[in-house]
């Protein structure tokens, strides 16, 4: 189950990653010592409305932007309280109108260590665990990062988060708070937009990418064969950023969003299951107001309901 969660989280956000990047969600279920799983998830996401800062707009020269992704996520239990999670997506994105070229390629690979620091029994049926995770992600290839239609923003990121995970016999609820530190990006051109407080004409091609904080709350039903859950995710720019506009590098934009989603997992065999999900952005900042559907296969050890 943890695998499933992981998978779901992954697909939910990874694909959206066009602007939100490959920040995928990590769940509160641990994998188990020396147990492994692999999820392959396909997703499709589109938007025709996007936010310039917080104002909704449409662009007839852009039309609808559709992004498809295929992501592999592997999880392995290094110890009973320590998991390694790796993920890599292949992404294709395209606009229906105008002359923006399609972009396609491997986006950012990520590796995360998740540590279950404390585990308490609350009464006979409840367990509360407190987890920490640290992850790193970086582009697999040098994709175009400064365009309206792009597969990612090209920064190398550190991700630190902590989670509280409460699990009963057939339900769970997880709350987490994370901080994503985004490294600098080198653009293809010299930065020359006007922002005297941040840049000067000799600053070259390097720009800062705003860091973000993230809150995720997720809860649902689990049993041996089925998992259903709903979740909400909010990313907020932590450091100063720009707004989408001509001449302004896309990586420097302050990106945030509030996203609601639901996921389902169905276990078909002991080591095999299917997952599917839907999620949508209800509010955002410098991001597409997108909706996504996804589906995938989960192979390996599924432990959410052990």
């Amino acid at each position: 189950m943890r695998f499933l969660l992981l998978a779901l989280f992954t697909l939910t956000t990874l694909f959206i990653s066009r602007q939100a990047r490959a920040q995928w969600m990590i769940g509160g279920f641990m994998q188990g010592h020396r147990k492994a799983s692999l999820a392959i998830i396909g997703s499709q996401e589109s938007y025709s409305t996007y936010f310039i800062n917080k104002t909704e707009t449409k662009n007839p020269n852009l039309g609808t932007v559709t992004t498809q992704a295929l992501t592999a996520v592997g999880t392995y239990g290094l110890g009973y309280d320590l998991d390694l999670i790796v993920a890599a997506p292949y992404i294709r994105t395209e606009a229906s109108a105008g002359y923006f070229p399609k972009q396609e390629g491997f986006q950012d690979a990520s590796a995360t260590l998740r540590w279950e620091a404390y585990d308490y029994k609350l009464g006979k049926k409840l367990r509360l665990s407190w987890l920490f995770a640290v992850g790193y992600s970086m582009p697999i290839q040098n994709y175009v990062n400064d365009a309206m239609v792009a597969i990612g923003r090209g920064s190398k990121n550190w991700d630190g988060r902590t989670m509280l995970h409460l699990k009963g016999k057939s339900f769970f609820i997880t709350g987490q708070y994370g901080y994503i530190r985004r490294g600098q990006v080198t653009l293809d051109h010299v930065v020359n937009y006007y922002d005297p407080s941040q840049l000067n004409p000799n600053s070259g091609s390097k720009v800062n990418v705003p860091d973000v904080t993230e809150i995720i709350v997720r809860g649902g039903y689990v049993n041996t064969w089925l998992n259903l859950d709903v979740w909400g995710q909010q990313q907020t720019p932590y450091t100063k950023g720009t707004d989408i506009g001509p001449g302004i590098p896309f990586p420097t934009n302050a990106v945030g969003f509030t996203r609601l989603g639901a996921t389902a997992y169905l276990r078909l065999a002991k080591q095999f299951g299917l997952t599917a999900g839907y999620n949508t952005i209800i509010d955002g900042r410098n991001v597409g107001k997108s909706s996504q559907i996804n589906a995938g296969l989960v192979i390996g050890h599924w432990t959410a309901n052990n």
Partner: protein, 513 residues
Amino acid sequence: MQPVGHVTATTMRLFFVRITLGALLVWVAGCSEPTIDEGVLPFIVPTSTDADGGSWKTVVLKAATDISVPQPLATTSAAYQQELADVKNGVLAATPEQNTAVNYWAYGAVLRWNQIARQLVAKYNVAPGYDYATGQTTPAESANPYAGPPYAARVYALLSAAQYDALVVAWRAKFQYNRPSLEQQGVISRAPVLDVPSYPSEDAAVAEVSCQVLAYLFPKEEAFLKAKATEHKQSRIWAGASVPSDVKAGEALAATLAPKVIDRVKADRFGAANDPTNTWQTALAKAPYDQKWTSLEIPARAPILPLAGKVKTWYDSTSIAKLVPAAPPATTSADFQKALSEVRDIATARTRDQSRIASYWDNGPNTYSLSGLWNLLTEEFIRENGQNELRAARTYSLLNRAMQDATTASWRTQYTYFVPRPSQIDPTIKTATVIPNTPSYVSDRAAVSSTAATLLSYLFPSDATKLTAQATEASLSGLYAGTHYRFDNDEGAKLGTAIGQLAVAAAKADGAK
């Protein structure tokens, strides 16, 4: 029961992992973004004083003698000795803020004002936008109906010409009156100072003329510019480079020059370049080409500055008018189809490096424009070659006037033939950069870059190979982007090279060695 040794190893491993994770978490959270700035730049030490600079041919003025600089007080006078003593004490008592200003401006007066101009162009090079919700043109705060490459090129040309004339006048007075530099009078300055007579101050002349010309071109920035100019002038006194009477004289000569430059600004026909009565539609109907350009934006918009091809040129207007190339191959011809296929093939299989080149040379809307990029690139040559203020101003004046003329000639060609962009003929051609809302032929970026490289290769011969490679890459960038045919680039480069040669001829004849 597990062996004791094993337990210890496992415990140690987990302990290590926990410590590491904990440390990473603390490190990751709560950082602030790194400051991106220019770092600490080494000062350039000019290699020549150009003592004959006062006799160099001026641009807006007929000659340096048009402006007379009054004779300074003798260095033996009590008033001067008092000024000198005050400066000496001031240097010793400089505050950290004053030192920051000293170091900022010691980078170079011409270079700093060129940077300021680039920043302002980037801020105001904003065409009125389109609001999907209302279907109306948005009145963005800085929306500028003149935004576009001709707008940017004109700002740099006017600023550089004004700076150059101001410095020629200053140089003439310096060597006419020969007031010794402060260094020769025992002042230890806080930054390198060119060993030329100190009266009048070249920095004050550049500051004042730049401030006045830019304030005329960017009226909303007057307060910002005045503050910059005041700081600049003061910084030279704090640095121990000038006494107040040097600064005052530099300021006064610039104040006499500025209105003459502004007269040139008013008379250059740029004011009509945005064609408010839409005469371009008649020109489009009469265009001698078999297919007519149309805007590819949704909704369609009038092209950028249709009459910018009629702007007054800096170099010989008759020669430039003759350089306008003949019409490109008709769209029905095999040559055209071949050119179109080439654009299509590149657009279908564009490499990452081609995207990078397209982006690097694009400098589209809301940037300081391609001419601004060439100003940035030239900064490096000026510094590497240790050019003094007068030389630097001459370099920029020759360059920016030539680039404005290349832009003007490109515009004239574009609005003669109204050749459609490749994507208009074949909408499957997707472009790496936004398609400029102008006709395709000729490529102004090929023209401007070839002009710049031709002139700069003459001024900096040791960099000629690099410059030629840059111009070639810039010319090809439109093809890589999918916004230009190869013939746009080739003819643009030819046009630009010819204008660059006009500038080289002017450089050979202006009296500078």
